[in-house]
């Protein structure tokens, strides 16, 4: 396929249709409006159905209905809308249904703002609704990666019978970049023999449900979910490492803001400071493996986020006390410059040297 120049939000849609998306239910909210707009135009042409719901609550429950009926279905929103969807997401996880959810996030709390932000990390990775569940969460850093992940997302959702979330921000959604849509790699996917398609008098009724009044049954569901999550940790963790082999300082950053951090690494290296970057592509499961491959030269880690520190908890867990973990972040739609990162990194290295008496 040829290279095309596309807005991130639209590339996500084109990739979703290539990934087999048949149904879209959503509600308008900035900065993701190009997604429902594109889907209202194109999904019908591709043989699918677009429906604008009366709210995010209704949209996610429509997703629950269509997914239970065996369809490939997605919804998209931005932070406050994703907050409203949490009830439905929890039910979808409890009923073990596949679907794809896009969050083109914005700053919070509350109505917040509409500028790029990474303040929804907890919401995405801790199971934003009630109960003991997780989503497979992808955080693409550029439009090509967003399209690649989206093409796979529906297959992965079907494979694990769980929601896959693509977490971006207004930067990813609104900017234009060249993108090549790749072929979907064929996978062996399980039959949806659990779907409510009508018994046709030929089988026992199928029931889509998250209610389990018997505690032993509910615990069994939770144990099964945990087994699924263990499989995800073994098979689906993705990350990029950049110049970590000889690094003294490794930044951890994800999504669009990791691109600024990558530039800061280049500047620091030019100044003679050995910096590197771990970029989680799956936020959940968090790529703890990446931290096992770090060199002996490492003196500190620094989590860099467009928030006041959420991923840093996972960085600390992965660091297991082996290295000090610093932090730098901006929020509310304020975006750090490469220079701010360089200065924060240099400062951390000075502090670490001071403490260790070097």
């Amino acid at each position: 396929m040829d290279k095309v120049l596309m807005k991130g939000n639209e590339a996500l849609c084109a990739a979703a249709i290539r990934g087999g998306c048949q149904f879209f239910f959503g509600y308008p909210i900035t900065p993701q409006n190009e997604i429902p707009e594109y889907m209202s135009r194109e999904l019908g042409r591709a043989g699918g159905t677009f429906l604008q719901a009366e709210s995010e609550v209704a949209a996610i429950n429509m997703v629950y209905g269509a997914a239970g009926a065996g369809a490939r279905v997605m919804t998209s929103s931005s932070s406050p809308g994703i907050a409203l969807k949490q009830e439905g997401i929890s039910y979808i996880c409890g009923a073990e249904l596949p679907c794809v959810i896009v969050n083109i996030s914005r700053g919070g709390p509350g109505l917040g703002g509409i500028q790029p932000s990474q303040a929804d990390y907890f919401q995405a990775t801790r199971g934003g609704g009630n109960g003991d569940y997780y989503l497979l969460v992808f955080a693409p850093a550029n439009i090509q990666e967003a399209a690649d992940l989206m093409i796979e997302a529906f297959d992965l959702a079907d494979l694990y019978r769980m929601p896959v979330m693509i977490l971006g921000d207004g930067m990813l959604g609104q900017m234009m970049e060249p993108v090549v849509f790749k072929e979907r790699k064929p996978r062996d996917l399980p039959q949806k023999d659990w779907a409510t398609t009508g018994t046709a008098g030929k089988r026992k009724p199928n029931i889509i449900n998250s209610l389990r009044l018997d505690p032993a049954e509910l615990e069994n569901l939770n144990i099964r979910l945990q087994e699924k999550y263990a499989q995800l940790k073994a098979n689906e963790v993705r990350y990029e490492t950049h110049q970590t082999e000889d690094a003294e300082l490794v930044f951890v950053a994800y999504g669009t803001s990791s691109r600024i951090v990558k530039n800061a690494v280049a500047v620091m290296r030019a100044n003679g400071l050995k910096a590197g970057l771990i970029r989680p592509i799956t936020l959940w499961p968090f790529p703890e493996q990446a931290f096992e491959e770090l060199p002996d030269s490492l003196r500190a880690l620094m989590s860099v986020e467009l928030s006041h520190g959420q991923m840093i908890d996972d960085v600390k867990i992965a660091a297991r006390g082996r290295w000090p973990v610093g932090f730098y972040g901006r929020s509310g739609g304020m975006i750090f410059t490469q220079q701010e990162i360089v200065e924060a990194g240099e400062k951390l290295l000075r502090e670490v040297s001071h403490v260790s008496g070097v």
Partner: protein
């Protein structure tokens, strides 16, 4: 010996958990009989509410979804859009439909969603132990209106059938009751017409059924039936509010 009465194939063998004398059971049977008589059991997908009928998915002998509280019309919308040729129905209580789920029911009607909703109005939250619902009668004592519902503080009971009948997309809207055999037959006829409406792709259909909650009303089953006739029907008039066949 000839068979004069048989349990409908529309219900499974599972024993109902409803309290003695609760009319949820009668309403289940009517819906199940209609599905059987119309030969729709193999084709139907039902959506259960959160409320005393939460376990309806174990009772109806067809594919079922269990929805979050109030969201059944949105879940049914998702199912129907995915499977437009199938028969999709939701079964909801008055807390579910007339309180937490008002947005979902209004907009399912507004879109003319081609689904059928069975709305069981028992003027109370049965499942959670008898709290006040938007449909609770003035003066009715519940666990959260212990001195009787007071219109000044909590408004007057909401009439859902009349409200939905103002919506263009609503095709068939009728209020019925199951407090005596005559009305049970009428309710069954309305339920059948609602499903026919869906089969003929006429859009949204809803049958409101006035129902009892002897347990939380603090009455015997028999007294409860009388209470429906004496207190509910005068405020919630029975009858058809919208019918596609009556319109030009």
């Amino acid at each position: 010996m000839s068979v004069v009465f048989e349990k409908t194939k529309g219900l499974t063998e599972k024993e109902f958990h409803y309290c003695p004398g609760c009319t949820h059971g009668i309403i289940h049977r009517l819906v199940a009989e209609v599905l059987e008589e119309m030969d729709l059991l193999g084709d139907a997908i039902g959506v259960a509410p959160v409320g005393c009928a939460v376990l309806a998915y174990d009772y109806f002998n067809c594919d079922m979804h269990e929805a979050a509280h109030g969201r059944a019309p949105a879940v049914a919308t998702g199912v129907k859009r995915a499977l437009p040729e199938k028969t999709v129905f939701a079964y909801q209580g008055d807390g579910d439909l007339a309180s937490i789920g008002t947005a979902e029911i209004v907009h399912a009607a507004h879109r003319g969603e081609n689904i059928t909703v069975i709305f069981v109005n028992n003027a109370i939250y049965g499942m959670t132990g008898g709290q006040m619902a938007p449909t609770t009668m003035i003066g009715q004592r519940t666990t959260t209106s212990p001195f009787g519902r007071n219109a000044e503080q909590t408004g007057a009971p909401i009439r859902i059938a009349e409200m939905l009948a103002t919506i263009e997309g609503a095709s068939f809207i009728e209020r019925t009751s199951v407090h005596n055999p005559v009305h049970i037959r009428k309710a069954k006829k309305a339920i059948r017409t609602a499903f026919e409406c869906q089969q003929n792709r006429k859009g949204f259909s809803m049958v409101e059924v006035l129902s009892t909650c002897p347990t939380n009303w603090g009455m015997s089953p028999l007294a409860s039936l009388g209470w429906v006739a004496e207190n509910m029907i005068p405020y919630y008039p029975l009858g058809n509010f919208r019918n596609p066949d009556k319109e030009a």
